[in-house]
Every structure is written in structure tokens, then in C-alpha cells.
């Protein structure tokens, strides 16, 4: 079967309008979280992109049509990735989009866009037409694992030679829709979230778009291969994480089987770490069952908040960067052990030799996702 690699990428977030700006901000320990007030839920903390800044960056890409905030974010991310591959015919490239709620803000009365714009199929069409893809776009909407799962979809379509390459984009907004929902779940933290910490009280929501090139052609510099991936359902509860971490455990096991490696070969874990009591506890149990309690681990949620459909892709890009630069990023917001099982939390951003990284994610509907990345020789 063909090998599949990750290529260039782009991150659009409150921390910056390029991957470089984002990586630099994370290296400096910056958080995108800020204080906001909503007429419905009152004071809350979230990571939002300023419309003014977005518009400024989007201007050179504007066309004779109005685009929503999310569309602008996603177009910016995809355009940058495609920039490096202009010689490749569009029909050789799969276009894969990951989102949970897309343009859901268009359902609100005060939103200037038509309610039809809230349809995810419409979002896919708008983006396809913008870039002139001739093949039908593939849109993945699978809760909080969407962004990671979209990369797995790309890998499969490249492995079975349907396509040679894929551009995968993930994106979601901070909207009244999701804020009020998570508020009704009493899941929003009053402060910047603290994944895996004793003091953790819940999540922050963030917005971002991230895009990555996935390809059968081995990149010339610092190639990173996708060596295994899987999803698994908890079959336990539609919103509560499994108490045994069953789905997460199984997804990692199946990814390991495909990669044909041992857990002991994993050098670093990029966990989901939403900072809710039950999610982080579930992850600690699953990682223990896998024998991964000593493997360095972090969560990016205190940098970006939970960016929903974008999060697993955004964080996968950081795993890619970690492997390429031999660097682990500190798990921002972590103070002291807050799960019943001990984990090896990364408390300092530092250089460290890395060969294999594991990225995981879990979401509503009991879904769990795992993917393994490996540094290849040039």
C-alpha cells in the first residue's frame, strides 16, 4: 500500500494568520482566550478572531461575492496550502472539509446571510466553487474528532489511489449556538481552561481554521508519515465520556496495529484534554490501560480553547511541527495532577528528540480518534 505523508499547512486563529505566527505564539506560551459577554449567558471566556483583522488578510483573496466569517477563515487556510502546489491538476486533489457546525450563525435572525447558508452542504459547495475543484468536495461532520477523521479519510483515498493528494481543512466558529449549548451542559469554564489539572472546571470555546496537505509524494525536507489511524465508538453514552476509556483505548490499539509498532515506541502524545472533569479523567484511564502513563503528553486547549471541528487538525499540525523540530510544547494551564491516574504532563516547552507522535481526540456521540505520525529519513 502507498505511504502517505503530511505536507505544508496553514493555521488561521486569534493567535495569528499563518502557521509560523501560531507556532511562535505557542512557543511564547500565549493564550487566545479573552473575556466576552453575551446577552444570553453573561460573562464567558473564548478565543475569537477579530473580524477587522480577518477582513484585512482576506482582502487580496476577495471575489465578487460575499463570504461568511468561517468561509473567509477556511479560504485563507486552503489558499495558502494550495499556493505551493499550483503545478498539480485539481482533479488529482481530494478536497476534504471538517466542521461540526459550519455557518451555524446564519440561523440567527440578525445574521445578514440567508438561513440556507447554515447548511453544511452549502458550505462545501461555496468552498469548492471558490477554488474551482472539479471533483465533489467531501465534508466530514463527526463532532469533535472531525478534523482528525478528515485526515484519515484523505489517507484512505490516497492509499486506494482514488487521489494522489488531498487538501484537508477544518474550521468552526464561536457562536451563540454552541456557547448556549455548552452553557446548558454546565461545561464552560469561568477561567482559562486547565486541562488535566486539579482545578479544572470545564472548557473554553475557540475558533480557528487549519488546513494541511496530505500526499503520496514523500516531501524532500523532514518528511512525516501517517503510519496508523482509527476511530472507535464507546457504545456507552451520547454525551458522557466512557468511564473505562474503552473507545479511546480501542482506537489507539487499532492505530498501533496498523502501524505495527509498540506503545513503547510512542515518544509524545497530543491528547484531547478539553478540561472537563469527565473527559480528562477518561483519557487518563485509557492512556493507563495502554501503558502510556510515562509518555510526555499535552493539551492545546488552553492556547486555543476547544476549536471543535478544527481542533484535532490544528493539534495534528502541531504534532507535525513537534516531530520536525524535535520540540514539545508545554501543556498550558496545567498545575497539578487532577486525574485519578498519573500522566506525564509536559510542563516546559523544550527541545527533545522525537520519532513517533500519537494524536487523539474524543467527542459527543461516543466517538474517539487516534492517529500516529512518524519521522522518516530524508
Amino acid at each position: 500500500m502507498r505511504k502517505v505523508y503530511l505536507g505544508n499547512h496553514q493555521i488561521i486563529s486569534p493567535l495569528g494568520f499563518s502557521s509560523k505566527e501560531n507556532i511562535d505564539a505557542v512557543k511564547q506560551g500565549k493564550s487566545a482566550m479573552q473575556n466576552y459577554t453575551s446577552p444570553i449567558i453573561g460573562a464567558y471566556i473564548a478565543g475569537k478572531i477579530l473580524e477587522k483583522n480577518l477582513q484585512e488578510h482576506f482582502k487580496p483573496l476577495a471575489k465578487n461575492e460575499a463570504y461568511t466569517k468561517l468561509e473567509k477563515m477556511m479560504i485563507l487556510a486552503v489558499a495558502e496550502v494550495l499556493q505551493s502546489h499550483q503545478e498539480i491538476k485539481k482533479e488529482k486533489i481530494a478536497f476534504i472539509i471538517a466542521t461540526t457546525k459550519g455557518n451555524i450563525d446564519a440561523l440567527a435572525e440578525e445574521n445578514p446571510f440567508s438561513k440556507k447558508r447554515a447548511k453544511l452542504s452549502q458550505l462545501a459547495k461555496t468552498l469548492q466553487q471558490y477554488f474551482g475543484f472539479s471533483t465533489p468536495p467531501i465534508l466530514v461532520s463527526n463532532a469533535c474528532i472531525s478534523g482528525g477523521l478528515a485526515v484519515s479519510v484523505a489517507k484512505k483515498l490516497i492509499q486506494n489511489k482514488t487521489y494522489d493528494h488531498a487538501v484537508v481543512v477544518g474550521g468552526d466558529l464561536v457562536s451563540e449556538f454552541t456557547l448556549t449549548g455548552f452553557h446548558s451542559f454546565q461545561a464552560l469554564a469561568k477561567n482559562i481552561c486547565q486541562p488535566f489539572s486539579k482545578e479544572r472546571t470545564g472548557i473554553n470555546i475557540g475558533e480557528a481554521a487549519a488546513a494541511v496537505w496530505v500526499t503520496s509524494v514523500k516531501p524532500k525536507e523532514k518528511p512525516i508519515q501517517i503510519i496508523g489511524e482509527a476511530t472507535a465508538n464507546d457504545a456507552n453514552h451520547i454525551s458522557g465520556p466512557s468511564r473505562t476509556g474503552e473507545g479511546l483505548f480501542l482506537s489507539v490499539e487499532k492505530a498501533l496495529q496498523e502501524a505495527n509498532i509498540l506503545t513503547s515506541e510512542i515518544d509524545y502524545i497530543s491528547a484531547h484534554g478539553t478540561a472537563t472533569l469527565f473527559n480528562d479523567e477518561m483519557e487518563s484511564i485509557a492512556f493507563h490501560r495502554l501503558g502510556l502513563q510515562n509518555t510526555p503528553l499535552n493539551s492545546f486547549k488552553a492556547y486555543y480553547g476547544h476549536t471543535l471541528g478544527a481542533s484535532a487538525l490544528l493539534e495534528l499540525i502541531f504534532s507535525h511541527v513537534s516531530l520536525q523540530e524535535n520540540m514539545v510544547f508545554k501543556s498550558l494551564g496545567y498545575t497539578s495532577q487532577g486525574t485519578s491516574k498519573t500522566l506525564n504532563m509536559i510542563t516546559k516547552t523544550a527541545h527533545q528528540p522525537l520519532q513517533i507522535a500519537l494524536k487523539t481526540a474524543s467527542g459527543f456521540g461516543g466517538c474517539n480518534f487516534a492517529i500516529l505520525l512518524k519521522k522518516e529519513t530524508e
Partner: protein, 196 residues
Amino acid sequence: MKKNGYITSSVKLKNHQIFKNDALLFKTEPHISTQDFLKEAYRFLEINYPKFHKMDVLCKLGIIASCVLKEDYPNDTALVFQNASGSEVSDVQHQKNIQDFPSPANFVYTLPNIVMGEISIKHQLHSENAFFIAEEFQPQFIHLYTESLLDQKKASAAMCGWLEANLDDYHVFLNYIEPRGEDIFSAAMLSEKFLR
């Protein structure tokens, strides 16, 4: 060597009728509400699963279809679904609730993949899940994706197809795929059965 998968069972829900392998299994008067149709189908099939009544339309359709399609599933049966409207019915309800009192029990259904969670709980499937959205059913893509899961041994069987519910209507077409059977699993076969 690549082995074929086979479609060994199909289910359709449309116009208040349920078809199993193209044979009419159940129907109600066409003018009753979708909720009433689903409740009658639930009783007729003797599903006996109180949680059913808490679900949104998309999940009720999924549970009924999964119970008609097959009685028992291997616990690594992959779920590969597609639809056009995501979780539109629950989305619109949550948007209405926002101004008043958002309901957590409704909000949880504002993700299309929740139906795969409900089906997994009902049949105890700890398997691969993927939910895709497209304006129209894409038999070629659904076939390719499902086949790659079977080829790579990530699942021993699969339930795949179209599971649509929107503000006006619904349309379900699910298939059970396994290693032995008569109808070879292909995009053309999916497409033909979908239109039949």
C-alpha cells in the same frame, strides 16, 4: 488479494413505509406526522427501548433502520453514513430555544454523528464511525470509504448509506455489508438499490 464485500441486507424508510430488501414490511397512513409514524413503527417492531422516545428524528430513523436491517451485529461493524441536512431538525429547535431556555437534551442532538452513537449503544458496536454531508447521495465515495475500512481490516462488516432528515421530509437507505453474499458491494449496486 482484494476480496469483495457483499450487500446482504438493505432497508429503506420513505413516505411512511419501511422496506426490507425491497419488500414492504410496514406502513402507516401517509398523512400522519413523522413522529407518529416512527412511534407506530417502534411499536410494530417491538423494539422495547425506552431511550428511543428521548431521541430526535434522525436518531429514531437510525435506530428503526438498524433494527430492521439485522438483529445482531458483530461488534466491529463500521458505520458509514451520509446525508444532506446534517442535524437540521435539532439545529433549528436549538436556535429557537436559545432565546428562552436552551435544552441540553436537545442540544446534544445538534451533531449528525449522534445517531451513530445511539446505534452503537443499542447494538453494542465499538467500531469505526464516519458521518459525511453532501447535497446528494454519493454512492461512489461511500463505497470507496467503506471498502477501504473492510480491506484494511478495520471492520469485519459495515452498515453504510444515506440517512436524511430535514424540516420537511426524511429518507433512509442503509445497507449491511459483509464478506459473503450474492450482491457484490459496488458503487453501481448501491446506486441501483438507492433508486430502485
